[in-house]
């Protein structure tokens, strides 16, 4: 047995309507917080984030927040130590970032208030490696032609 998914018991939470989510106190508080953070991003260039993974939410609230924020135009994925999904919600400047491990279990989930999540940017260390690799390839071709 490798993990809990192998145990033949299904964890079932209370039913949540697919289209109509209840705006509970927790959901409202989080949306209010996001609104404040967006204002700070506009006025002060302040980047912020909410660690949704460690919030004690009622069953269904996570889905409600995700549904209310919706999905925008950008969607990005990468695989390194497991899959990572990043998308901009329907609210510009509000990004949903989910990091999974190699077993596909969530290890971190954040709502980031920024123009672009830093992890999406090309990293200088990787650029240096890429530049070096390309230069080596060019040198090899030059050597072969001589």
């Amino acid at each position: 047995m490798d993990g809990i998914t192998d145990i033949p018991i299904m964890v079932k939470y209370s039913e949540v309507n697919d289209t109509e989510y209840e705006v509970t106190d927790n959901v409202r508080a989080l949306l209010t917080e996001i609104s404040s953070m967006l204002a700070a991003l506009i006025n002060d260039d302040k980047i912020d984030s909410i660690d949704i993974h460690s919030l004690p939410l009622l069953p269904g609230e996570h889905e409600a927040i995700q549904s209310i924020l919706g999905q925008g135009e950008i969607n990005a994925n990468f695989n390194s130590l497991g899959s990572t999904t990043i998308y901009e919600t329907a609210l510009a400047g509000v990004w949903w970032v989910t990091h999974n491990n190699e077993n596909d279990d969530c290890i971190a989930e954040t709502i980031e208030i920024t123009t672009i999540p830093a992890i999406l940017e090309s990293q200088l260390a990787d650029i240096e490696v890429a530049c070096e690799a390309l230069q080596e390839q060019l040198n090899d071709w030059d050597t072969e032609q001589q």
């Binding site: 809990i4 509970t24 927790n26 917080e33 919030l55 491990n101 279990d105 971190a108 992890i119």
Partner: protein, 362 residues
């Protein structure tokens, strides 16, 4: 991994990109309850973090703490952390035995004097000269004293090591005591729980690895980032408590609707731990979510604190006045959650930001 190799180099050698390394740091930030803005600081610190040597001592215990850690799902951040430390001595996990095993322990003490970390699970029996638990002919007391001498820090894992735990329960036939009852001259981090949450154990290790010092602790020596709030403060059933909706029996309408378990003896209001947020079994659930009240296993003498099914002797109004101010003035429970979380993280961030690379090198 050689002793001089850093975590960043190890990951790069394993083909993990810089972006993957930042993801690893994002996972650590969540693990250590730090805000995402701390990720660059964590990354910078780990670039230079060296592999620490760890001696794990198991005394009077049930091995549940080791089980908790090793049975956590893998591969995980936890397993990566254990790739980074040098776990040189652990009765249950090490391959060697007998004199050779004990030789390794003494060798680590000599070679890394003042730098190694000691992890202890289990209580230490003192009655009758400590004969109730011995290893290689030495009492737990003697091994602990000998090993603690050169330790940079001691991490007491589980309720037995932190408070004496079940062996200490009345009538305490072996005279069991906690690590902190014996060692007085070393920094001790208490990670209570029966067992403790695996991510809390590795979160503390990650903190030491990242910042080169122990995290901020509460009056019982527990890391504030994990034990700063009560279970009650962070419980998803908290809104029902605030609305006065309680389950009266385990099979009544309130229980079926998931109402607060306070009246069924839940010790959440007086228990500090991270179960409500970190949860168990790959984040699936924790006792309250499964319909049973908290037993309070991360608090001293929880076994002797009365019935698990009697409400804590504190009136609901008293509890309400002790939690976040937002609740006291009748604001929404959700705001209390956000406030508590933000205050905790701001506090943690404030503490960690003082650490620089220079501090780590010194």
């Amino acid at each position: 991994m050689s002793e001089d190799q850093t975590l960043a180099k190890l990951l790069l050698e394993q083909g993990v990109s810089r972006r993957g390394f930042l993801k690893f740091c994002a996972g650590l930030a969540t693990m250590m309850a730090l805000p995402a803005s701390m990720i660059p600081t964590i990354a910078e610190a780990l670039e230079n973090a060296k592999r620490p040597s760890v001696i794990w001592l198991s005394f009077q215990e049930c091995t549940g703490c080791t089980e908790s850690l090793t049975r956590s799902h893998s591969p995980t951040l936890e397993s990566l952390i254990f790739d980074v430390i040098s776990l040189d001595y652990h009765h249950t996990l090490q391959a060697c035995a007998g004199h050779f095993a004990e030789h390794i322990r003494t060798e680590v003490i000599e070679k890394h004097f003042g730098k190694y970390i000691v992890i202890v699970d289990g209580s230490i029996p003192l009655k009758d000269g400590g004969v109730y638990s011995t290893i290689a002919g030495m009492t737990n007391l003697d091994i602990l004293k000998e090993t603690a001498k050169g330790a940079a820090a001691i991490i007491a894992v589980g309720t037995c090591a932190t408070y004496g735990g079940l062996p200490h329960a009345n009538p305490n036939p072996t005279g069991a005591v906690a690590v902190s009852d014996i060692i007085k001259d070393k920094p001790i981090i208490n990670i209570p729980g029966c067992p403790p949450i695996p991510v809390v154990i590795t979160g503390v290790l990650a903190h030491f690895l990242t910042f080169g010092k122990i995290p901020e602790l509460d009056s019982l020596g527990r890391p504030l980032s994990f034990y700063g709030d009560s279970i009650h403060d962070r419980c998803y059933r908290r809104p029902f408590y605030d609305q006065g909706k309680f389950a009266k029996t385990f099979d009544d309408e309130g229980a079926r609707k998931g109402w607060c378990l306070y009246e069924l003896g839940c010790k959440g209001p007086i228990t500090h731990n991270a179960c409500a947020t970190e949860k168990w079994n790959q984040g699936t659930s924790f006792p309250i979510q499964s319909g049973h009240g908290c037993l309070g296993c991360s608090e001293p003498d929880f076994w002797d604190a009365g019935s698990f099914y009697k409400p804590v002797p504190t009136s609901p109004s008293d509890i309400a006045s002790n939690v976040a101010p937002a609740v006291a003035v009748g604001a929404a429970a959700g705001i209390a959650i956000g406030l508590s979380n933000r205050l905790k993280k701001a506090h943690a961030a404030k503490q960690h930001k003082k650490v620089t690379n220079d501090d780590l090198q010194s």
